[in-house]
Amino acid sequence: MTTTPANSTRAPVLEFDDVSLAFGSRRILDHVSFEIRAGEFTGLIGSNGVGKTTLLKVILGTQRIQSGDIRINGTKRTARLRSVGYVPQKVSIDADVPIRSRDFVALGLDAHRFGLRRRTTEDRRRVDELLEAVDATSFADARLGDLSGGEQQRVLIAHALVSEPSLLLLDEPLANLDPRSVQEIVALLHNIAATRDVAVFLSAHEMNALLPVMDRIVYLTGGRAASGTTDEVVRSDVLSALYGHHVDVLQLHGRVLVVAEPGTTTDHLPSHETLKVD
């Protein structure tokens, strides 16, 4: 390689090295390898049911793998408690639970530990700083369960970041959000990756909203993954090889469409990006 981005010289935050996992005869991950670096925004793109959530659970250590190595900050599956922040999919907060946004963010500091601890001035400062970073100051004292989906998403991101992880995982954070909230959350996460030296790894079934900010992409289908910059991966030849049949990648008004030949099933293509001809 002749041109090396500045980031490539740094050790990756997350490395997948030949990772395989199957549920029965169904291959979820088939010799998958990729890397994620600090300060970068990486999209995990694939259609629904392709195994994005399972891949994230593998990183979190709540799902075992059958072979391969996973390294976080260069060490094998250790220190996941502090070094990984996680925003799960489809979180629904019970509106009856008396807890404010700021209390929930503070829970991110040490909720896995036993005992009561008095919040220090430093703790409070960090919580305030995070609430401001995700633009949640105006509803910091509101009940978490009363907030809208987009607002709750911001608080969940602040909760995940307050323990200063080097890797932030988000599982379909854009699903069920209105278009304006999608744009806001994407811009927010891009900003977080760039300014906080955090590797943001976000799963989505629709990549168009992420195209302006995505530094790298991990494209998952049928257990296999292609990774690289968006220009390297979202190409006809690369995706055709990945799918095992010919697909075209069209650029249209700044959006990407992945189109399969007539007759081939498009069920496994990321939704909204397949061209449907009536």
Binding site: D96, P98, D103
Partner: protein, 272 residues
């Protein structure tokens, strides 16, 4: 006989603390099943001529562990119902063999706040203190696992294990309170005051403190009313708990309506 006020206060504090999470975590059904099952343990202990507290403790713990472990495999409400039914059946069998029938059942189900013996006081105090300490120790874990179990799991907490540990705390609270307020009434005290408290504030710490305060006020008012009217304490505990919840719920709805009207007014002003 020891002071009803002292015993009542003790029970109210434990119910307020443990009940806070019973309500938040949606464990009302287990909190109903464990004391009712524990009643069978007390009946069994009575039959064998050992301390009812031992029977209560053993059956509460057994019930909690059964609900916690079975609930992981099948739907937890079904598991809870099965445990409840099985323990009640045992209770029926034990009672049928017992000679002292009616007054015994009555006091186990509805309590005998005015007839607690001094020998029971120390174990009741110790179990109560352990329950409160354990709840405080697990405060943040209980909070996180009930709000977003997936995040808790990613932090290395096992939601099912946390759930089981909490049910054991409920079993402890049951053991200490059943002799005093009875199997049916401890459930009232664990649900009403915390459910009222969570309507009145957004802050978790304040909500728990309120839960304890409301619980204590209910018990005191119930004892006083019982002295006055000669009606059972349990009747007043149930009525006052429900009344507190009703009032808090109304206040909550009224506050929310006012906030919404205000927000709408502001957005109209901003738009025009």
């Amino acid at each position: 006989m020891i002071n009803a006020w002292e015993v009542g206060t003790m029970v109210a504090v434990v119910a307020g603390v443990v009940g806070f999470f019973v309500v938040l975590r949606g464990s009302a059904f287990p909190a109903h099943a464990i004391p009712n099952g524990a009643f069978a343990g007390a009946a069994g202990a009575n039959l064998m001529g050992i301390s009812p507290l031992l029977g209560l403790g053993a059956f509460s713990l057994l019930g909690a562990v059964a609900i916690g472990t079975l609930g992981r495999r099948t739907r937890s409400d079904v598991a809870t119902a099965l445990v409840l039914v099985l323990m009640l059946a045992l209770g029926a069998a034990f009672l049928s063999q017992s000679t002292e029938y009616e007054p015994q059942i009555f006091s186990l189900l509805f309590g005998e706040i005015l007839g607690v013996s001094t020998s029971q006081l120390t174990p009741v105090l110790i179990i109560g203190a352990v329950c409160i300490l354990a709840t405080f120790a697990m405060f943040r874990q209980l909070m996180l696992t009930c709000l977003v179990p997936d995040i808790a799991h990613s932090k290395g907490l096992r939601p099912a294990v946390v759930d089981l540990m909490f049910l054991v705390i409920v079993a402890g609270a049951t053991t200490m309170t059943v002799p005093v307020v009875g199997a049916l009434l401890i459930f009232t005290l664990m649900i009403g005051p915390p459910a009222a408290a969570r309507c009145l504030t957004h802050r978790p710490g304040v909500a728990m403190a309120l839960s304890v305060a409301i619980s204590v006020s209910v018990v005191w008012a119930a004892i006083a009313s019982s002295f006055q009217s000669n009606w059972p304490v349990g009747f007043f505990v149930g009525v006052f708990s429900a009344a507190w919840y009703g009032v808090a719920r109304l206040a909550h709805t009224a506050l929310r309506a006012r906030r919404t009207t205000l927000a709408t007014a502001i957005s109209y002003t901003a738009a025009s």
